[in-house]
Amino acid sequence: MKDVVIKGKVIRRELFIYLACLVVACLLNVYAIATYSDTTWKELYSVWYALLPVSLLIYVLTVPVRLAGLGLWKLVRPLACRKCAR
């Protein structure tokens, strides 16, 4: 069985993407606090138990999107490179 090596660069990238997902979740929280009635700004931190799983969900949802994007890029890259080469 081959050893799988995950480079530090990849880990850093994924962490960065997860952090971005967490920021998105926090922004959604801000939106909910501002939009719904009977809320308090204390909810910015008091719903941490919901923010973490939602941010994870957003991160997981980025995977097929990124895979699709990667696939598309692989299709389009030869055409784009041919143009660059000219």
């Binding site: 959604l28 929280n29 939106y31 909910a32 606090i33 939009t35 719904y36 009635s37 009977d38 809320t39 909810e43 008091s46 719903v47 919901a50 923010l51 939602v54």
Partner: protein, 426 residues
């Protein structure tokens, strides 16, 4: 040995009663426990006799022997093993088998009557006539007439009369009543009480001829079973909260599980209806303990469960906005998919964790009995009867006996006028 979890000062502070004025205004029967009144009786000593120091009597003895104002001078019981156990708690006391020896002792100030119910009237009335103050365990008696005779003797002689209704001295109940009277829960619309157990309620009997003497609670000659032993505690809340007595009583009871020769029901349900339609109900099944014991006091704005030490408001704070947004998203995503299902949402009891009365979890082992005993001692010293104590004890007994009568006669009983007393509800 059980100890009061709260010290006297803590108890007063918890009930917001450190000042005499606060005490007198809110709970006049607690007046004797104020710091000022306590200091006024420092150095005084009362001489008490205990008649019938079985398990409940020994429980009270454990509090009394710790009170420096008390000297236990007599222990009286016809059952030697109970006497022996009581002597271990109060070793200096004299013993006898005839309660009249205790009453004939001129140095005795007060007596505890902790015998089976059928003997309460004789001993209590004799004690009053002998000039003794009386603490009688609940229920007063197993008949309406005897209970009235005991209360009348108290009025006639002017002697102090306490009944073993410890909820009147339980900080959690006091706090619940305070919040109710302040209108925190709105008008109280109903009180549901229940007491479930799963045991045969029997005590070990060393020989068959002692069966009725030791397991007296199971025989109608001496007791009305769960009504006089359990219900009377909880029914007392009806008078305390509604500040009234019910107009009618109905009930149903039977021996459904413990068919062992007992004469009292093991499965009862009784409803007391007041003239404005509100009710207090009592149910007890002693072959299932899942729901335990509780009084559910239901107001328009909230509910109190004093045994758990909690209260719950009808209106609960809304969910955080973020969770509501997720819920709305889910509804939008799945709401348009049709499945066979109900077209209405049932009103299911809400999951509401509530708040603690007095701001903290109710500790075990403190049911107000310690303060009740202290209050009796203070009353014997001063000779002053606190308001409400005798009347609440009297009516709780009458209500429990009327419930028994409703079950026996299988009809709706109207509260009999001859058993109403002149009671100025606080």
């Amino acid at each position: 040995m059980k100890k009061n979890v709260l010290s006297r000062r803590d108890f007063l502070r918890e009930c917001g009663l450190l000042g005499v004025a606060a005490m007198a205004a809110s709970y006049p029967w607690l007046d004797a426990l104020s710091e000022e009144k306590q200091q006024a009786t420092t150095g005084e000593k009362v001489r008490l006799g205990m008649i019938g120091p079985g398990s409940r009597g020994q429980y009270h003895l454990n509090f009394l022997v710790r009170n420096p104002k008390v000297e236990i001078v007599w222990l009286c019981d016809i059952y030697q093993p109970s006497l022996d156990k009581a002597l271990e708690i109060a070793p200096g006391a004299k013993t006898c088998k005839d309660y009249r020896e205790v009453l004939d002792d001129p140095t005795v100030d007060g007596v505890y009557v902790v015998t089976p119910l059928d003997t309460h009237r004789q001993i209590t009335v004799d004690a009053f006539r002998a000039g003794k103050h009386v603490f009688c365990e609940k229920s007063l008696s197993h008949t309406l007439a005897d209970s009235k005779a005991m209360y009348d003797a108290h009025l006639e002689t002017g002697k102090v009369f306490f009944v073993g209704q410890q909820r009147l001295y339980d900080p959690y109940y006091l706090e619940a009543i305070r919040m109710i009277e302040e209108g925190t829960f709105g008008p109280i619309e109903g009180i549901k009480t229940f007491w479930y157990r799963n045991n045969d309620w029997r005590r070990k009997v060393p020989s068959p001829e002692l069966e009725r003497q030791i397991n007296w609670r199971l025989y109608r000659e001496y007791s009305c079973g769960v009504m006089t032993e359990l219900a009377c505690h909880q029914l007392q809340l009806g008078t305390w909260i509604y500040k009234d007595i019910p107009e009618t009583v109905m009930g149903s009871g039977a021996i459904t599980y413990w068919k062992d020769g007992r004469e009292v029901e093991d499965n009862v349900n009784v409803i007391y209806t007041y003239n404005d339609g509100r009710r207090i109900s009592f149910e007890s099944i002693i072959s299932n303990k899942f729901y335990g014991l509780e009084e559910q006091i239901m107001g328009n704005l909230g509910t109190i469960e004093p045994e758990k030490g909690k209260y719950y408001f009808e209106k609960t704070p809304p969910m955080p906005g973020f969770l509501r947004m997720i819920n709305d998203l889910e509804k939008d995503l799945y709401g348009n998919i049709s499945f066979a299902g109900p077209s209405w949402d049932p009103e299911i009891a809400r999951r509401n964790h509530g708040e603690f009365l007095l701001g903290k979890k109710r500790p075990g082992g403190n049911d107000g009995s310690g303060y009740l005993n202290d209050a009796f001692v203070e009353a014997v010293i001063t000779g002053k009867q606190p308001p409400m104590i005798a009347e609440e004890g009297y009516y709780s007994t009458i209500l429990s006996l009327l419930g028994q009568q409703a079950m026996d006669e299988k009809r709706i009983i109207t509260f009999p006028g001859e058993f109403k007393i002149d009671y100025n509800y606080k």
